[in-house]
Symmetry: C2
Subunit: 329 residues, 2 copies
């Protein structure tokens, strides 16, 4: 059924029906007629037809590097909450960390498919920059700070610094580090720099043999820990860029008689649910992922409303969660 058929059934003009759904001028008696017919027929206007003329899709594109990650799904949950209240729906693209899919999704969203875009990406390239600046629709980046664009990010540097400092303050002298790809500015580079600053500030030096780059997974954390502990130098504290990595490293420690926190303190970033129930509860830095999603969505909403090109940056702070893994007396 289309709008003209429905208008005829209701006994009003096509324009009246359109106005009913779009808050235009409309007399109460027609409104009643339409509502009665609506009850009877269950008519719903077509979104696409509406979009052709009005250019409004009520869709927001969300580009994610993966789905089955606690942090990312929390961000997405926050985005959905805020946008849902405003009647927007999420068009989700999972790029599976595939660079090309990220680019092609941006390309797809660039023109007319959605009213706005929220991008969660780990690594940014020049191609990203050029594509992002050609965007016709408002865009917000969550989780990374990228000059010249709307961003909601975390204080990754501070988080890593504070967690490392916590361990050094408890007397550790041989700090180790397992991080992620430094091309990922937030989780890779900034957390590394935060670690390094804390170490240097404590009058110690960063030992390259006690530093490793892992992937975002437990298995990779296990692997890097294994290599590190096979060397001559033994660390007495370990900072990991993510909880997953830490949990893998701890698995190795457990299997090899390395006692936490006595032989080795462990601290990480992310405060995942898993951290609480690890065999030694994990000290971690809580980042406000869901809030980041909510704020990103709010930022996008105001950008879509205003249509202005002014970009904003919001940085969220963090909370240190101390648990047994750093509980040395």
């Amino acid at each position: 059924m289309n709008i003209s058929e429905f208008a005829e059934i209701a006994g009003v003009s096509v324009s009246a029906v359109s106005r009913y759904f779009n808050n235009g001028y409309l007399a109460d008696d027609k409104r009643a007629l339409i509502e009665a017919a609506l009850e009877k027929t269950g008519y719903m206007p077509s979104y696409s037809a509406r979009t052709v003329r009005s250019k409004v899709t009520k869709l927001v594109g969300v580009i994610l590097p993966k789905l089955s990650s606690e942090s990312i799904s929390r961000v997405t949950e926050g985005i959905g909450e805020v946008l849902g209240e405003e009647g927007f729906e999420l068009l989700l693209v999972n790029t599976a960390n595939d660079y090309n899919r990220e680019i092609s999704s941006l390309e797809l969203f660039r023109q007319n498919r959605v009213d706005g875009v929220i991008l969660l990406a780990s690594v940014f390239t020049d191609l990203h920059r050029s594509l992002l600046s050609k965007m016709r629709v408002p865009t917000v980046i969550v989780g990374q700070q990228f000059k010249g664009f709307n961003c909601v990010c975390h204080n990754d540097f501070g988080a890593a610094y504070s967690m490392t400092k916590l361990m050094l303050d408890k007397g550790a002298k041989h700090p180790a580090f397992i991080g992620v790809n430094p091309d990922d500015i937030a989780a890779g580079r900034d957390r590394r720099l935060g670690f390094e600053k804390a170490v240097t500030e404590a009058g110690l030096s960063v030992d390259p043999k006690l530093c490793a780059i892992a992937k975002f997974s437990m298995d990779s954390g296990y692997d890097k820990a294994k290599r590190m502990f096979s060397g001559r130098k033994r660390p007495d504290c370990l900072f990991c860029a993510t909880d997953s990595i830490a949990s893998g490293a701890m698995l190795y420690c457990r299997e090899n008689g390395i006692t936490i926190p006595d032989d080795l303190m462990v601290g990480a970033v992310g405060d995942s649910r898993m951290g609480r129930v690890l065999y030694v509860p994990l000290s971690s830095v809580h980042l406000h992922y869901k809030t980041a999603g909510r704020e990103g969505a709010n930022m996008l909403l105001s950008a879509m409303k205003s249509g202005s090109d002014v970009h904003r940056v919001m940085q969220l702070e963090y909370d240190i969660i101390e648990r047994e893994s750093t509980n040395r007396v």
Copy 2:
């Protein structure tokens, strides 16, 4: 830029451009002309305009009870993989376990917003049934078996049965159960029934005082364990409907000197990442969530292609993962 402007620039007719994008008859020379102009202008046809006429949205609606759950995000990942290959995108709705949002999303998708729907819901009501049977677009239910509709589900009964039997075979005599809402047929009722069958079959009886219904969370598992262990009767094995619940219960055990597996064996369903790194690695039943998502997507694809109303049911089997929590000698 619209199709007529572009056609003029390319020096071909509007129809030719449309055919270029829709695999219609088209001579090679025109194809070349269009590709050259495409290179120059970056023109992209409007999805909504296309949809008005062709009725094809290339969108699939996915309705989820929550996002930040490992099992659900794995299912969604599987869905996205398969559908992405076929050029579909996901329109995601997170109902946050809100009954009304589930209904209103179905209502929204019923007509014309999407080409197909995949529904992950925990509890089905009569309203669900009536709404689902009024669906104009193909619909697949993942994770539940619902007579008369396309379903991809797990063998929840068998999973619970096997895990419980595993513990009873090792000599447990006082089995306990922490499950979820029995209105949830798959995770609630079937896992309960599977537990009960194993108990009865072993010549034991189900003690109501050793049975509890929790929510899908660690905290709730902790809480139910606390109450259960405050009673007079002490269980010697515990089956939990989910890993989260089990991890909460185990947290309580650890705090209260109940040794796993010696005092209490623990088994669950879900095989989440967390289970591997718990202070006592958790025995759990692996359900093929991602595969369920993939198969659900495949089922939807064939339903969309054929347009037929024949419904199919696919049940996926499971793997028992034995770890220390049931490792009694």
